[in-house]
């Protein structure tokens, strides 16, 4: 290996262009991309889906598949150009000097090979170690990634581990050869927030410990702030702004970066006083990029004749450390100006009671065992849920996977019937009424917006037809023509062009599909809408638009919104009251302010701490939960949270292990299900605090 000077960048990408070639055309995925990573530095690549960030990572690994090709530029790793390296030489770099971790941990591991063998393979290939030595090293590294019982894990198959454990194994595998550069492509997107926090901590610590440089790819600005020193914002195949994290976060010099920050719900945003500002328009398709600045058509500062004249080069911002922006007008823009005041709206007072749940229980019996034999087991998906919701109100239901929030939605909708308890919908008891037995009026008043935009519409029916079908079923409209008219009005309501009625769902973007889903839910004049993570699969800039649309419709129709989410930022932004669930139990419930400030339930506290916030002023106390969420099939005895609770020692005796905590009602009707004494609860410190709230400069 050639000698390499550690004061020089470990990875230098210069003017990289990558295209994918299909039968019809060449699709440029990345254009003129440059960045460099210094030794020990963590570089973030951030952008919305389709911006080319993952393509850059794969190009560094030279793994673009058969259709992808590097068309220009160079990628130099320790001074050697990777773009012209042979497969054979690449093999000595892959895994040994550059390692990569990506999104789906389960898919990244070979399902038919024991974890130990997969780990040991790396040193056996690159350092020629014997199997025994390699296994010893694997055992060592498993304890490095803080996994318990390394011997058991070495012998396990990937499916026997939980998602968080699998991702730790993937990280361990990447670190086996002590690489100089680690590429992480959305490493935590598939994981729950509290598990994500643990992984992020681990990555940071290990990076420090081994002095590994990192290329960290994420759509989540908060995570980038947590992990990286520098970042590069990408838009439509180009880097638009790059610099240190503080420079870009606090003194951004590109309109896209600014728009991005204004569209995410940071602490301080409020649906009535300071609504989010969505980026207008749509992400351009790769073969329909505009001339000149790619962001031009969506930019507030767009100047015709200048921004759309020629390709825009990167421009260095003076007085900074390599802070660059791809904007022609950055010197003309007043970056300190506050955003154009959005529409300030009045908060609507909660109206009459529309939904009341009392002691709702939903149990499933499942048979366990590999071949369908074995004993019947009861899974308690929902345990004594009680709450009420009023007109105009937004009630958020927060929790991670397995907390029972989806089951609750199913029971409420009537797709399943409750095991026990009562559901009062308007003035009707519906806990035992499956949806087929409910009358059309009840059904049309209670509707749902689904999570996955790619799944929510029937792919083989036109958009208009699907809305008309809902109208037919809800017995709205007197004739076909009338229903078409109503459908078009609904399209207007969700701010979609009327021409979209004739399109097939695949011709729509994710956000547009979600709008159609909303229009369909409101076709029958819904009074209560259950929104199951309606924006979590959308890009941040689209999230803002869809969230605001939902809020607008709610305001107009006086709808009650049950907003199911795991994302506390958006919950804080839009909800009036919050209900936190864990393993089927409601552990905390109260108004948004009550839940987001002490006293907390220990789980809420950890959850708040785990959510990454993209604001440099926010100071968080770091609370990382041990282990993973227990399976709902096999919940711990006593308090469901006792296996991960950091406050457990404060409770006398083994109360947490044996007894389900009672619901404590605190000041203002704030409910917490915990054994901790009132003194301890009231003495809790806030997790999130703001540094002096000065205006952004």
């Amino acid at each position: 290996m050639t000698e390499w000077d550690t004061s020089k960048p470990i990875l230098e990408i210069e003017n990289l262009s990558i295209s994918f070639f299909t039968r019809l055309r060449e699709i440029p995925a990345v254009m003129d991309f440059s960045c460099s990573v210094m030794p020990g530095e963590a570089m973030g690549l951030v952008g919305e889906s389709g911006c080319g960030k993952s393509t850059v990572a794969l190009a560094v690994m030279r793994d673009l598949g058969r259709n992808g090709r590097i068309t220009a530029g160079s990628i130099r790793f320790k001074g050697r150009d990777l773009t012209h390296m042979t497969e054979d030489d690449l093999r000595h770099i892959r895994g040994k000097e550059i390692a990569m971790i990506y999104q789906e941990p389960m898919a990244s591991l070979n399902p038919a090979m024991r974890v130990g063998d997969q780990l040991a393979e790396v040193p056996m290939i690159h350092r020629g170690l014997s199997h025994a030595d390699a296994m010893a090293q694997a055992r060592q590294i498993i304890s490095d990634v803080r996994l318990p019982d390394p011997d058991r894990i070495l012998r396990a198959y990937p499916h026997q581990l939980s998602g968080g454990q699998q991702q730790r194994i993937v990280i361990a595998m990447a670190l086996m050869a002590k690489p100089a550069l680690l590429i992480l492509d959305e490493p935590t997107t598939a994981l729950d927030v509290t598990v994500e926090a643990g992984i992020v901590d681990l990555v940071k610590d290990l990076g420090r410990k081994y002095g590994t440089s990192m290329l960290f790819i994420s759509h989540n600005l908060g995570l980038i702030l947590d992990v990286c020193n520098r970042l590069c914002v990408m838009y439509s195949g180009e880097a638009v702004e790059t610099g240190t994290v503080t420079e870009v976060f606090d003194r951004m010099r590109h309109p896209y970066t600014q728009a991005l920050f204004r569209s995410i719900p940071l602490p301080g945003a409020d649906k009535n006083a300071r609504p989010l500002i969505a980026i207008p328009g749509n992400f351009p398709l790769p073969h329909e990029r505009p001339r000149g600045c790619n962001f031009g058509p969506r930019c507030d500062y767009f100047e015709a004749g200048r921004c759309d004249a020629a390709t825009v080069p990167m421009d260095l911002v003076p007085g900074s450390s390599r802070h660059e922006t791809r904007c022609l007008r950055w010197r003309d823009i007043d970056w300190a100006a506050p955003p154009k005041a959005g529409r300030v709206t009045e908060k609507l007072a909660p109206g009459r009671l529309v939904l009341k749940l009392e002691d709702l229980k939903k149990y499933y019996s499942v048979s366990s065992g590999a071949f369908g034999g074995g004993a019947e087991k009861v899974v308690k998906a929902n345990e004594s849920l009680s709450f009420e919701a009023r007109e105009n109100e937004t009630l958020a239901i927060v929790g991670e996977s397995g907390c029972g929030k989806s089951t609750f939605a199913k029971v409420l909708m009537g797709l399943e019937t409750a095991t026990d308890g009562q559901i009062m919908l308007f003035d009707e008891n519906v806990q035992d009424t499956p949806i087929q037995a409910r009358n059309t009026d009840t059904v049309s008043k209670l509707q749902m917006v689904f999570q996955n935009p790619f799944d929510t519409l029937n792919p083989s029916m036109t958009v208009g037809r699907q809305i008309i079908r809902a109208l037919e079923i809800f017995q709205k409209g007197t004739s076909d023509a009338d229903r078409v008219e109503r459908m078009l009005t609904l399209m207007d309501m969700v701010k979609l062009p009327r021409a979209f009625a004739d399109r097939m769902p695949r011709q729509l973007s994710g956000g547009q599909k979600q709008r159609v889903g909303i229009a369909r839910a409101f076709a029958g004049g819904a009074k209560i809408v259950v929104a199951d993570e309606p924006v979590s699969a959308l890009d941040v800039s689209v999230q803002a638009a869809v969230t605001d649309l939902l809020m607008d419709i709610q305001r107009e129709n006086h709808t009650t919104l049950l907003f199911i989410s795991h994302d506390l930022s958006i919950v804080r932004y839009l909800s009036d009251r919050v209900m936190v669930m864990y393993l089927g139990h409601v552990v905390e419930m109260g108004t948004t302010d009550q839940v987001f400030s002490p006293p907390y339930h220990p789980y809420t506290e950890a959850l708040l701490s785990a959510v990454p916030i993209a604001d440099t002023r926010v100071k968080k106390r770091r609370i990382v939960l041990e282990g993973d969420i227990p399976s709902a099939m096999n919940p711990p005895p006593g308090c469901p949270f006792q296996t991960r609770c950091r406050w457990k020692t404060e409770v006398p005796g083994d109360l947490c292990d044996t007894d389900l905590p009672p619901v404590k009602v605190m000041a203002g009707g704030h409910q917490i299900k915990c054994h901790l004494s009132d003194d301890i609860l009231n003495g809790m410190e806030p997790v999130i605090s703001m540094a002096a709230d000065e205006a952004r400069g």
Binding site: K96, M100, A112, I125, F371, G372
Partner: protein, 361 residues
């Protein structure tokens, strides 16, 4: 696991009972029985005579009772004629009426007498199964490795020239049923007037008139490459295409999986990726296909044995069915159904063992 096998075996027995009952019912339909009576006794019997013959041979008892007799759970019929002579299901020339057991059916190991061959069914079946066993063995030895090799080679680099050529070959063979490929192979390699044999004979390269023999009759006494080659290849060809395509599909799918990328980005060489990471995962699906291939090879066996005049199980089945030989046909169907069910069971268990995701969950 034990519970699984027990439950599967239960379903298997139920399936076997249902299927044999259907065969029993179909073979014992009135027109078939009348035909049997006429062929056994006399073609010129009157309707009354047929009826009395059927009655005296226990064919007029209720269908379920007769099925029970055949199974061996219901006592066999007896009939005392005008002269006081006792005949019955379990009474034969070598077994007197008083010494005969009450029940004699499949459970007692008695399969009855073939009406076409005039010999015990068990004897015919044993001999023909022996012949077919050899045929199947060679077919498997040729088919499985070839098919897997083709499938893996074409699937590991999708879209290359190798892939295109091998895939086309695989599609062509699945489009060629045995009675087509058999005919073509005989014409090309086993005909004295067409194909390559006349040319080879003219050049003096072969001593006989044909390169391969167009019939496999002589293989029943001694198997050689020249008399067994064509039937084996005929059956194998059809299967090769099918298994190869399954393997290819499975292999291409595995090759796009993330863990293959993980391995590649770990620096594992291509050959090692195929051998250590891809093969095991890719062969799980074809294994099931190969096992399920057995019952379906039966079709091929029947066609090929008829075409090449090889007196194995398939040939026997055709004879039994064509001549309404009830006992033999029932026995054949029991064997066929058992083959199907046992291979299904093996394929299920094997699938579980090959796939740790299911085995250890």
């Amino acid at each position: 696991m034990l519970f699984f096998i027990l439950r599967r075996s239960g379903v298997m027995v139920l399936t076997a009972l249902a299927l044999t009952f259907v065969v029993f019912f179909m073979t014992n339909l009135t027109p078939n029985l009348e035909k049997l009576a006429k062929s056994e006794a006399s073609v010129r019997m009157s309707d009354d005579q047929v009826a009395s013959w059927l009655d005296s041979h226990g064919f007029t008892r209720p269908l379920l009772a007769r099925y029970g007799e055949w199974l061996g759970v219901v006592p066999g019929w007896t009939h005392t004629d005008a002269s006081g002579r006792v005949t019955g299901r379990c009474i034969g020339p070598d077994r007197a009426a008083d010494a005969a057991p009450a029940r004699c059916g499949v459970l007692q190991g008695e399969w009855g007498q073939s009406s076409v061959f005039k010999r015990p069914v068990s004897e015919i079946l044993a001999r023909s199964l022996g012949h077919t066993g050899w045929l199947m063995l060679w077919v498997m030895l040729v088919m499985v490795p070839t098919a897997l090799l083709i499938g893996v080679l074409s699937g590991m680099r999708e879209g290359t020239a190798t892939d295109r050529i091998l895939s086309t070959f695989a599609i062509a063979t699945t489009a060629t049923p045995e009675y087509v490929s058999g005919v073509i192979l005989i014409v090309v390699f086993g005909s004295a007037t067409a194909g390559i044999s006349p040319i080879l004979a003219e050049w003096g390269w072969i001593s006989g008139r044909t390169l391969f023999q167009g019939t496999a009759t002589s293989a029943m006494t001694k198997i050689t490459f020249w008399n067994f080659g064509l039937p084996v290849i005929t059956i194998a060809l059809y299967g090769i295409g099918y298994i190869a395509r399954m393997t290819r599909a499975s292999m291409t799918e595995v090759m796009t999986q993330q863990y293959i990328r993980t391995a590649r980005l770990k620096g594992v060489s291509f050959a090692q990726i195929i051998v250590k990471h891809a093969l095991r995962n890719a062969l799980i699906a074809p294994f099931t296909v190969i096992m399920l291939q057995f019952p379906w090879l039966l079709n091929g066996v029947v066609i090929v044995e008829t075409l090449f005049n090889y007196k194995g199980f398939g040939w026997t089945l055709v004879q039994a069915a064509g001549n309404n030989d009830i006992q033999l046909l029932l026995a054949c169907s029991v064997v066929a159904v058992l083959v199907v069910l046992v291979t299904q069971l093996i394929s299920d268990i094997g699938y579980v063992f090959l796939n740790p995701r299911i085995r250890l969950s």
